[in-house]
Symmetry: D2
Subunit: 344 residues, 4 copies
């Protein structure tokens, strides 16, 4: 098959012929890739930021990145009962064991023995991809791989955080969304579909804020140094019950905390910076910080339901797999509109 | 009446005659103080750490500290229906409005208009104290004010945090308790009374650890620089589902975070230091940080139930109100065993 | 003031002059009634179905019914701080004590000492009504008493049940609504505003089903004897995660149970019939039955937020208070479209 | 191997030689049975009460009952990674798929494709038993199969219901336990280990009540016709926050409902009778009825933790497998003390 592989860090990927992946254990599933999302993490991989971790996981170059995948089942192991060859599927990003406490509690991402294709095993920048029976979700006839692939990771991460926040978001509350980019734009749509909380979106980009209104934001506020005062203004000085921080760096993780109401919840989703909060402040206002890591298989099933209802739509730009390096450059240079998608 | 009042910061309190507090609004309750707990916060008050905040709240010297109070109802306003003169009561530390959203959700400490006797209004280092109908809890015949006063704040804070943690503490989990002091020793007893989770107690004082075992700890670990490795050892390298940090300073709030299991919860209860955690770490392990502020009236009712069942017992040393300054010195110099209690 | 009072069971109300209610205790609030909803319960009152209970509560004829009230604050007791004379308000149906465990947990309807104007005390079929500070909610400028009065009870009951059901109604689930009448039509709008669950509405009236689609139903099914099979058909034989039974009589409470999926929840809201379910069936499918009684003050605040957002709208027909008996007859004879509202 | 098989309904089992079960699919596990609990359900099986259901499931006579099993792993399929040959294990009663929504939510008993050995497939009244990797739990060295086998089903059912009830059982609440028999005696111990709620146990057998006190009951009440009044007496007329009905027949499911406090929860665990409750009563008191079906794999892991801590102990009587019919007769005639256990 054709695959785009990283042979050397800091260098372009090489599109080349490699052997097809094969079913070798009873729960294996081989998927013909229909679309693979391009993610900022792929830039970090190319820069070697995961070199150590990949070595520890036993992955050596060359290999294909690509962890947001959708396509069609091409082959299944003998014990696979939930999909058939030809089924149109999206892939949960992890291959999980199904036997540990976490798997048995629905917390797939905390599986004791998970494998992460695209990061620590060959990924979806290729014509075929090896995954497992526990990772494939049949999608609605109305959806195509190229329309949904980025929901597998970026979308799932946003959905997972929002589902955890929903019990806090009754009518009359305010939910601040920091960052209306790749994850945020899905998050806003999920919030709109599942709550009547007031959605206040903050971004440093006016164009993103204009789109946020289309996706369902009630208020938008430009991050221009005055944003904390602006949020206090629209919340009558009380702050927000929930802050969803899709940025997590560049200072957002500092001023974002000042947007919280007493007893508020700060959802850490984006990353890069550090939380730095006096315990005195945490206690006097009884605020909380909630970590978020991708999402479960069932979360992804639910998100696909929102997609099939037309309630969550992605902004995407597609590239043929042969143009993978052009797509990467466009992403790196800010020329890519919406999520980039590679089509083998 | 006799009252011990602070006339000047950094100076001893003065025991003197002052007018009795009077009922002036329909929900007022005057309590004859039977016992008032002495708390490290009272040292901070004497040092003037709350000077600014007290001014803002309209409180000026001289005044009586004392925010952990129990006694007998001495007089009630016309609209008070829940207690009668003579009733033996413990006092929730706040006087609350009963009308705001927080009060109506059972979150007394987030009341929009609360008053805090002892900190921002005259407190319990006196023969009588003014509080409100919403702050008094009748206690069991078997309990005496001198036995329970510190449960009003120190105990309530520990109970509140543990009640929030309980759903995470099913059999087979590990709960790390950092600090077996004033709050911790109540917390350990509450945990033992309401869960079968393994309780691992950390303290820098061996004597406190010996007592912790009596209160119900399953394991005790000396904080000697090797405590993180020791916790990893007893949890087979996985860490703890829950960490209750009753210290919150002196580095505990740093190494304490390393005790968490994936998806673990860190309860911030003690204070002084700062949380400082990379968002990358929060996300990769999906950990959470939960603020805790005193507790609700209903929490205190439940804690008094544990006390009346004999499941929570306090270590105390009593002083006559006249000896208030000796008690404060003993606390300041580490000579006070257990919680100090002033008896008017 | 003018009031419509019941002097004798089974007889028309008498519109007459009576003394105005007066503030007599510190938390009293007198409201000038702007609109009072007419409810089927008022028919039952007229028939004497509550005669016994009213006697026990110390209520004797003549008195004014009317338990769904909105208007303007006319006078307040000395301790009232949350509203001022002139404020536009809707009234929670109960006057509550604010001191018992239930009140302090936000469960207003389980208050140990509640008073229920309209049922067990003089109600809103009058120019003025006596209530308490804990029962008044200021409403948005954009809303008028005549538009919202029935939300005080009918709407609140629907909202309360749905809020309890929401955690079960993630995307991909099915919520069956039995009954698209007074409560159901509000319930459907609340569901649509707060979830993306599929809403399947059952009613024996085709006209009601047509409206249900406008309010947000995804599927409508006529109750014609074949409704259980029809629901099984649209749920692929699995049944619904949630059934909201706004009828509770005439057999709905029997066949409704057969609509449940394994581990499903049956919300009993309407009443009249009896649940009759073999324990064997309850156990083998692990189904649940949830009682629902009106709702809390905070629930009503949230519902008013949905109303001010335009997400919940009432179908109403207004009558002057002088025409109260005509309104009652219209309701009794099925000639009343939407909820009836009396305007003093 | 030796197996005790039912050849004909209403007739004794036949102890005979049959072929050993073999591993045939990748996740199969063969267990050498160390102990198999004898359950009242086995009497119902012998009477043919499950004849229809067994036919539908494709099971035909002769076959071995036995659904409460513990022992040692004897052989494993190629994909099994969680146990090794020789491991000492207890068996979750169901073999589950691990792929359906329920399995992925931790709700093993609602698996779309589960198999139930002992009821719908060959069970543990034999020297060897075929199960799956998802059904085996390694047990602590300190525990032996003969000590724990009945925890696999009877114990699990009690634990599961109690875990669901725990959030309702804060200090000061009352939990009524109806039935101190096979499930109840485990339930009482679980309650005592995980809560400080007051436990009030009702049974028609005084000897059982005496034991209940040893297991942790705070109050015991004889079911003698006056039990409702007695419960109202000890709850000061308020009723119990939680009723755990381990009987579910013979009238308990009728008078049991009268023991509930307003907003109380009735856990249906035992079965045989029918719930029959007016919807008016359900609504006016906002009571709830919760179905309970066995429990999850993770529940069983937690229960085994309580067992290894010595907090849950079983009363048992052992019989050699050859004496299976004597054991059955003893159970049928009420001569069996504690749970009966067959040892191959």
């Amino acid at each position: 098959m054709k695959a785009a592989r990283l042979h050397e860090f800091h260098r372009p990927l090489v599109v080349e012929e490699v052997p097809d992946p094969k079913v070798s254990s009873p729960f294996d599933v081989v998927v013909r890739v229909g679309a693979a999302g391009l993610c900022r993490t792929d830039l970090h991989i190319r820069e070697g930021q995961f070199e150590e971790a990949q070595k520890e996981a036993g992955l050596s170059l060359p290999y294909s990145p690509g962890h947001e995948n959708a396509g069609w089942v091409a082959a299944v192991g003998e014990a696979v009962t939930n999909v058939d060859v030809g089924d149109k599927v999206i892939l949960h990003p992890l291959i999980t064991c199904g036997l540990c406490r976490a798997c048995r509690d629905g917390d797939d991402v905390h599986c004791d023995r998970s494998v992460f294709p695209g990061l620590f095993a060959p990924g979806g920048f290729a014509e075929y991809l090896l995954t497992g029976a526990r990772s494939v979700i049949k999608i609605d006839d109305s959806l195509e791989p190229v329309d949904v692939a980025p929901l597998a990771d970026a979308g799932l991460t946003a959905y997972h955080a929002i589902k955890k926040a929903l019990p806090l978001l009754y009518p009359g509350t305010t939910c601040v969304v920091i960052g209306a980019g790749g994850l945020g734009h899905i998050g806003i749509q999920c919030l709109r579909a599942m709550s009547s909380s007031r959605i206040v979106v903050l971004d440093s980009n006016s164009a993103a804020l204009a789109l946020a209104t289309e996706w369902g934001a009630d208020e938008t506020i430009l991050v221009d140094g005055d944003q904390v005062r602006a949020v206090q203004h629209v919340t009558l000085g009380r702050g927000a019950e929930v802050v969803l921080d899709f940025v997590g760096e560049s200072g957002a993780e500092k001023w974002g905390v000042d947007l919280l109401k007493r007893k508020g919840y700060y959802f850490v989703i984006g990353y890069g910076g550090s939380l730095d909060v006096p315990t005195m402040q945490i206690i006097l206002t009884e605020i909380n910080f909630i970590g978020n890591l991708v999402g479960s298989y069932n979360d992804l099933v639910e998100l696909m339901e929102l997609a099939s209802l037309g309630k969550v739509k992605l902004h995407t730009s597609s590239y043929p797999l042969d143009d993978v390096n052009r797509a990467i450059e466009d992403l790196d240079n800010g020329r890519l509109r919406g999520r980039g998608i590679l089509v083998p």
